[in-house]
Amino acid sequence: MKQQIIVSGIGGQGVLFLTRVIAQVAVNTGIPVLTSETHGMAQRGGTVLSTIKVGNFASPLVRTGQADLGLLLWEANLPVHQSLLKADGKLLLNAENTGEGIRIDAAKIARDLGNAVLLNLVLLGLAVQKQVLFCGIEDCETAIKQLAPARFVEQNLAAFHKGLDSNK
């Protein structure tokens, strides 16, 4: 099993947390994983990109046209990071408008749950529902429980399930 994933957003949106959840699932399933993340200055509201390579890889970086899946938390990043996707790569976006890829107004769903930052897990839920990720529902739930601060676990799981049940 090999999968290359990109997670794109802006600083403060929870790109890092989503990246960690996906990578943690790999670790829990015993699959080698590498991620690369954006830290530092760009985290102050600038464009950030994480790459995740699940399976037997040496480097965490994704080459142009090699990503199997793109999870975009910030629609405006589409022209910036789309070139990383394979021609037949799957694209999931948090977006209010219609357009390319599988779209969901994850920010609105998250806001209704009490915090816009939960949109990252709404999108994860949607990815699992669409079976475009290497893992399943329970895998993600376990990783979320492991990584979320105790008092936010329920809220995080709720966001994940909103994504799972959406767009049906």
Binding site: V27, M41, L61, T64, N77, A107
Partner: protein, 608 residues
């Protein structure tokens, strides 16, 4: 029993490795991409089986010297910094090469090819070549961790400081990493005075220099640190790849994707300096053409001096920036005459970073720019570099430079006709402690007339909130003595000192004007304003301040002052209606944008 596997960031893996290897003194100054290394040591210190002193030092030179003396007692120690931090620590670092150490000492210097979060992309491996210090170049988080224990052993065998040089892509990658039990070394501090070594005068240095050169020759031959060969299948005879660090990993994946894995001999260099001369000879004998992939400068290439080399010196590999998989693909295609990679769409820039909504630096910069539209604004390293977006940052150089640069601007202007523009220097609290104090003393004794604004947000914000000396907390939230900024400023000879919360636009503006009158008065000199407001990323700050619902009414005239001159990322222009709108997801309800609006269209209401 199977070892526990954990998903670790490269920096966490390194921190874990330090604890496992019995490191007892760890000192660092924060700086991207190195910061999480010491943080991981702090977070994991419970695992240490022996006493462990951890400190956020005031700067990198100090961190290095603390770790150095600890090593003199026979204990294992580490100093951690980013690449430009090594410039600050260069003085003790260079001499340590000659004098050596006792207990194992590592200097971990994180480089930032790109650069992503630095003022340059200097290569610590080249610095080590100049300093004559062995340097290790890990290609993954797991490998970085695995190098630490043997690096301490190497350090102790030759009584020499060893540098571990991860890059951003190692530091900020995560990987499944296997954990080990920390070793117990049972060492008691035992410093043996030896003035001919620890206090060596020039008379002793030629011998120490000879020892250093002999050690380097021996280290170059150390079996554990030789280049590792992944053999090819002779389909491309007399051709080889040499790579180190993340460039090696990128190449491995690329070769597999292109179906070229195990076709050409591939050497991974673990220790780029000193490179084994026998390896260099072998490469010359065995191969006609060698592609060399390394970040950022041609350190291996220089030492290899191979007539058939293709690398940064020959121009076959780009000299600037990261060796990303795409960049390597192009270099590889050229080298092997493969089909060129598909044309990439022109790179599009993403969203630029900006000061957080509610950041008090924004109000400070806005007011400074408003008071002195023709001023000169030297600034410094930190979040507040982003004051550039507000037109209130004209220079950014290196830690602490802004105060001396301000003084330099003043001297150059005033010598013409005695006239000078208002110079407003902005420096963060952590930067002030790091390198600002000597510069302030110098500015005062050179009778500089300028305004220094210390942006005091009570933390080292850019790197994620490390403690600063005036807050009375040390690494791991341990209480310690607080060293206030005000007495330091006064003791530096500053006679105009005021403190203000920059959220209060009016008062801050009044103080800036007072300061300007002071510096232009007969008795004037350096005026210091402390702009004090907690970092908005600190939950305690958010909790302590009132949050309102901020909205923009229809009388907005679309002047864009709040979105461009004030540049709050929670505000944007609705182009169809030509009015500003508030992004409620990002707005923290501070209301600092309200005085900015010329028509009072921004209003705040108590949250329901």
């Amino acid at each position: 029993m199977k070892n526990q596997i954990e998903l670790l960031m490269g920096n966490e893996a390194i921190g874990q490795g330090l604890i496992e290897a019995g490191c007892q003194v760890a000192a660092a100054y924060p700086g991207t991409p190195s910061t999480e290394i010491l943080q991981a040591v702090i977070d994991r210190q419970e695992q240490a089986v022996e006493p462990l002193h951890i400190e956020w030092s005031v700067n990198e030179k100090i961190a290095f010297e603390v770790a150095l003396a600890a090593s003199y007692t026979g204990k294992r120690s580490v100093a951690v910094m980013k690449q430009v931090g090594l410039n600050v620590a260069a003085d003790p670092f260079m001499r340590t090469a000659y004098i050596g150490i006792k207990g194992g000492m590592l200097t971990i210097v994180a480089d930032d090819p790109g650069p992503h979060s630095s003022q340059n992309e200097q290569d610590t491996r080249l610095f080590c070549l100049q300093a004559r210090v062995p340097v290790l170049d890990p290609s993954s988080p797991a490998e970085a961790k695995a190098m630490i224990q043997p690096a301490f052993e190497l350090s102790e065998k030759y009584e020499t400081n060893i540098v571990l040089r991860p890059t951003t892509r190692i530091c900020h990658s995560r990987q499944n990493v296997s954990l080990e039990k920390p070793i117990e070394l049972k060492r008691q501090a035992d410093f043996e005075p030896n003035p001919t070594r620890w206090a060596a005068t020039p008379a002793f240095l030629p011998q120490l220099h000879r020892n250093l050169n002999r050690h380097l020759e021996e280290i170059a031959l150390e079996p554990a640190w030789q280049p590792r060969l992944l053999s090819g299948n002779e389909s491309q005879p007399r051709t080889a790849f040499i790579a180190s660090g993340i460039a090696y990993s990128n190449l491995v994946d690329l070769l597999e994707e292109l179906g070229l894995d195990h076709t050409i001999d591939l050497y991974q260099v673990l220790m780029p300096y000193p490179l084994n001369p026998d390896f260099c000879k072998l490469m010359q004998k065995k191969y006609d053409r060698v592609l060399i992939l390394e970040e950022t400068y041609p350190v291996i290439e220089l030492q290899l001096a191979h007539p058939g080399a293709v690398g940064k010196q020959t121009g076959g590999v780009p000299r600037e920036g990261e060796l990303t998989p795409d960049v390597i693909h192009q270099a590889l295609a050229d080298f092997l005459q493969l089909a060129p990679p598909a044309e990439k769409p022109a790179a599009r820039r993403g969203q630029r970073p900006s000061l957080c909504p509610g950041c008090s630096h924004r109000t400070a910069f806005y007011t400074i720019k408003k008071c002195f539209p023709k001023g000169i604004f030297p600034s410094d390293i930190g979040c507040y570099t982003l004051g550039m977006n507000l037109g209130a940052v004209h220079t950014v150089h290196c830690m602490g430079a802004c105060i001396s640069q301000g003084a330099g601007f003043y001297q150059a202007y005033q010598q013409d006709d005695g006239q000078f523009p208002t110079i407003v220097v902005t420096i963060g609290d952590s930067t002030f402690f790091h390198a600002g104090i000597p510069a302030l003393i110098n500015a005062v004794i050179q009778q500089t007339r300028m305004i220094v604004v210390i942006l005091d947000n009570a933390t080292a914000a850019m790197t994620g909130g490390q403690p600063v000396p005036h807050m009375g907390v040390a690494a791991g939230n341990k209480p310690t003595k607080a060293i206030a900024i005000e007495p330091l400023v006064k003791a530096s000879g500053v006679e105009f000192l005021e403190t203000c919360n920059p959220y209060d636009h009016e008062r801050f503006e009044a103080l800036l004007k007072q300061a300007d009158s002071y510096i232009r008065s007969p008795e004037g000199g350096v005026a210091v304003l402390i702009a004090r407001h907690g970092c908005i990323m600190d939950p305690a700050t958010r909790k302590a301040q009132k949050s309102f619902t901020v909205t923009i009414q229809d009388n907005c005239i679309g002047c864009e002052k709040c979105t461009s001159a004030f540049e709050c990322p929670a505000l944007s222009m609705d182009r169809t209606r030509n009015i500003a709108v508030v992004d409620q997801d990002r707005c923290i309800g501070c209301g600092t944008c309200i005085p900015v609006c010329p028509v009072a269209a921004i209003i705040k209401e108590e949250k329901s």
